[in-house]
Symmetry: C2
Subunit: 573 residues, 2 copies
């Protein structure tokens, strides 16, 4: 069949997001690519600047497969590097700026970064990190008033011939998981995977022509959930801000007529609780893609009321960002707001490039029933997953056991095919043999008007094995409220055995650099309380015991520290 039907320059091009910028320079040349404060660029300019920078990287000796690291907020330089670095054949390593200097040092050491670009704000962090290293990368300072970065752009030759991409499996980005207790793992993306993920996310989120995208999500999170490349594909406008404060976000939305933005549910609070002085009316509904943790339905309702059309996604660094998206169905339009929010809080269906997403029994490895009740572990496969962990063949092999990426997240499949995360494996509370989803308990807690933030973890219980323990941050203006009132609220809204046996009011929740609640810290805290008091046992007297079953039967995972550490290191969005 295939005689004479060979791949050639005319009919085969390695898939790469870099081609999106080349096309944007051709077909969206004079459109605004990036705005930042008073600065503004066109796609022709962004393309030329990226070519110049790539040329300078080559002059500095950067070669194919070298790692180029960067510590910067969402500024034009970081955006340009998403293209310039792969254009030079190198691999972009955008480091989480919220990490401490030791972790940054560990990343620089592990990645073997040849160059480190640093925004002036993060110069102290970089300096401290570099002190830990014997083999230091060359440092390039990014400064808004000029600086070494601008000098590299200026002296680069935009007409210099750049190395051609021969193999779409070549690496384009190296993103470290947030690993809070163990050494972070380096997740490697291929040009092919990044290209396909970008296309399928644009499709799934229905990003039409001329989007105006607000950079409220850090670019160092899975390359901005691929939208760093996606905006070039769409010829959109990137609105850069240094930090997603309420004032900066509302101002950018109003001034630039933002149409799209991403962010973890933490940003809901920032937007909802903004003081009046920071607020601006939205010029039109703003589409917001969220993920990282299941958004509480009540917060979704409030966001919708404020004018944000929220789409919920689920993903992880290993899946190049969102892997499941809660695609809206028109038949839901006629449902009540509460029901809509509950449906919208589900994780949804696989993005097109994923190949397959499923929920499987970790023991039998078979698919669970699509009944919305039978739990299993969410598994993924397809071309939008990572190549693997950098310099860690063993971890890569373990992650891909049996031809699937095992996410460590527990979920169900509803009859309509939508996946819903019930918990992280280790976040399931097994009380008297019954599984209690901490996410479900948190959802009910968020329904109480006084609750600003809620986190529920397992607390040891002599009688039941484990019991739910709630940590709550209350709204500033809240009047006195008691543990009993909270427990009563829960019992009114869920089976009694699921209600927290202990409620602790705290000033704030411990969080990772990615704004994820560090539940292992809360669990340790709950354990300590349990050992020093007997209140838990007393409270249990008043609750109706659930039907007795052997504990931990459904998810026979080891809950020792090693496992916890490993799971934590595989970060979600």
């Amino acid at each position: 069949m295939d005689q004479g039907l060979r791949k050639c320059k005319a009919n085969y091009a390695p898939l790469s997001p870099v081609t999106f910028l080349e096309r944007a320079a051709a077909v969206y040349a004079s459109r605004t690519s990036v705005v930042y404060g008073g600065a503004s660029f066109t796609w022709a300019e962004t393309h030329e600047r990226a070519r110049r920078l790539a040329s300078s990287l080559l002059s500095l000796g950067v070669a194919r497969g070298d790692v180029v690291s960067v510590l910067a907020p969402n500024i034009p330089a970081l955006y340009e590097m998403h293209f310039a670095v792969p254009m030079s054949g190198a691999v972009l390593n955008a480091i989480n700026t919220r990490l401490d200097h030791k972790t940054v040092a560990a990343i620089l050491r592990h990645s073997g970064a040849k160059l480190l670009f640093v925004d002036r704000e993060y110069a102290p962090l970089a300096r401290n990190a570099l002190q830990h290293l014997t083999d230091k990368p060359a440092v390039v300072l990014i400064d808004e008033t000029g600086g070494e970065y601008e000098e590299l752009v200026r002296r680069g030759d935009p007409r210099r011939e750049l190395p051609e991409l021969d193999d779409e499996w070549d690496s384009i980005a190296l993103n470290y998981t947030s690993g809070t207790t163990s050494a972070p793992k380096g997740v490697v993306y291929s040009h092919r995977g990044a290209y396909l993920s970008t296309l399928s996310l644009l499709l799934q989120w229905e990003v039409g022509s001329e989007p105006v995208y607000l950079w409220s999500l850090p670019m160092f999170h899975c390359n901005g959930w691929t939208f760093a490349w996606g905006m070039a594909a769409r010829g959109g406008t990137n609105v850069c801000i240094r930090a997603p404060t309420a004032g900066a976000m509302y101002r950018a939305i109003a001034d630039h007529r933002v149409t799209h933005m991403c962010g973890v549910p933490y940003l809901f609070g920032v937007l909802l609780d903004a003081p009046a002085a920071d607020r601006r009316p939205l010029p039109h509904p703003v589409r917001m893609l969220t993920g990282g943790s299941p958004p509480p339905p009540r917060l979704l309702e409030k966001m919708e009321a404020l004018g944000f059309a929220v789409t919920h996604a689920y993903g992880m660094t290993e899946a190049t960002g969102p892997a499941l998206v809660c695609e809206w169905r028109s038949e839901w339009d006629r449902l009540s707001p509460e029901r809509k929010s509950a449906l919208r809080a589900r994780q949804g269906v696989s993005v097109l490039s994923l190949g397959e997403a499923d929920v499987r029994d970790p023991r039998t490895r078979g698919s669970v029933a699509r009944d919305g009740r039978t739990k299993g572990e969410i598994v993924l496969r397809g071309s939008s997953l990572m190549k693997g962990y950098f310099k860690d063949a063993a971890a890569t092999e373990a992650a891909f056991a049996g031809g699937w990426l095992w996410t460590g997240d527990v979920g169900v499949v509803h009859p309509d095919g939508y996946v819903e995360v019930k918990d992280r494996s280790k976040d399931v509370i097994i009380s008297g043999g019954e599984n209690i989803s901490s996410v479900e308990v948190e959802s009910v807690l968020y329904g109480h008007p006084a609750v600003a933030e809620a986190a529920v973890v397992a607390m040891p219980s002599e009688k039941w094995g484990e019991s739910p323990c709630a940590f709550l941050v209350l709204h500033d203006n809240t009047t006195a409220i008691t543990e009993e009132e909270i427990v009563a609220h829960c019992k009114n809204n869920m089976p009694h055995y699921m209600a927290p046996k202990k409620v602790l009011f705290v000033e704030s929740l411990p969080k990772s650099a990615n704004s994820k609640v560090l539940k292992y810290q809360l669990r340790a805290h709950a354990r300590a309380i349990c050992n020093s008091s007997s209140s838990t046992t007393q409270m249990n007297k008043n609750t109706k015991p659930p039907p007795s079953r052997p504990p931990r039967s459904q998810f026979p995972r080891s809950y020792d520290n090693t496992h916890e550490t490993e799971i934590l290191a595989r970060s979600r969005l």
Copy 2:
């Protein structure tokens, strides 16, 4: 860099549109996939039926790379075969049902089809075609009342293990060009190319979730410009009709609330001229993608007024359908209707998967200036192009000369990056050294209220080398109109030297099976008239001669019959 970062089942899946159906069965299981008359299927059913049919194909001895041909209108069976045939490892060859039996025979012979599926309506055509063949394929009859096709579906095993796709470069479809005078050429698509083309067309046309797609464009045209696969990717509803008559289209739009449809500009006339009895009000604006020939701006305006939101695309069989799409820009919203239609009639910008589209000087092979005036030949390259011509390595090599597909179409690039087709190379009329675009003259002719159809070709002229000759079909209700009135209308709307020197009123224009005007027939006709009369020379006396230049300087292509035949064989959409 790549140590331990290998492709495996978890992180690499060969790109194939078949995966769209598998995903649809998982995530859009109970949604309507196909409706046809009183019949209706869900995505779970379409998936199961495709698997059953694939299983039966294997039982019939179909093997990897075998060709399975089909002669059918837009019915569910043809839709299902778009998945079932590649699922069995075979290659789908959907034959243009408007071809004559000799051409069908030539296609069956050249493709070496192992099986031929035939809709009952085309049984006589198939019978006549098969008489020309010594080595006949097995025939399967498709009949709405059951028939052999349904029997194959029924007795297939939906759980049978189907051959895995190992290489995304494997062939998925074989589509013959319409070649009206020479033997048709077989254009081969890979799974990869079809997958990427589908994704990028969904993106470019902004096909959101839950589309309802009317099959007004034949599926045998580049697999319905990839939307046969695209609807599965989107979980849309395919509304099948046997023929795009005005009544069938308006009824389907109203009954099924159609959101999207495709078609050549010929369909504009069918919709615009429909008798009142066939019309139904549109339930909402219907998005229509058109291509095949540049749509006259006046017709675009009328379609918009009727409620169709028309997007104009340009493509060819070799490019898996649309390669350029006229992406709308919001800055055009405030322009006059005339200006909007003129902008919308341009061919536009490259689809994302294309890699590159350019307009190049056929002599120097360099890009032309982006000034909207300098003409060159449109060239394409990228992963959405064909693998090549089946069993014709020489033609494949010629088509891809220098790493580009040379389209044979003359165009310009506007300063905004939009390509506009000025003519087929051979359709340029070179008069006194000046290039006259027949498309431009036709556009002006369509502006005359009496003109229903217009085609302009070159007529030999002793004085100027060539002169424009117009063939016109008038609206039914038109009162008497003279050649002089038409010429006067042209001179009022364009440079005098571009006005037709001869106007001929005809009942209808000769057309190919793809509804393309057969200009070579008109040229022969114009030559004959010219030889038998001297009216042309007389008329020229009244026109102002253009500045004298050597004739045919800009496009030194040979205009002999061999070339004409070759170009015609490389059909557009």
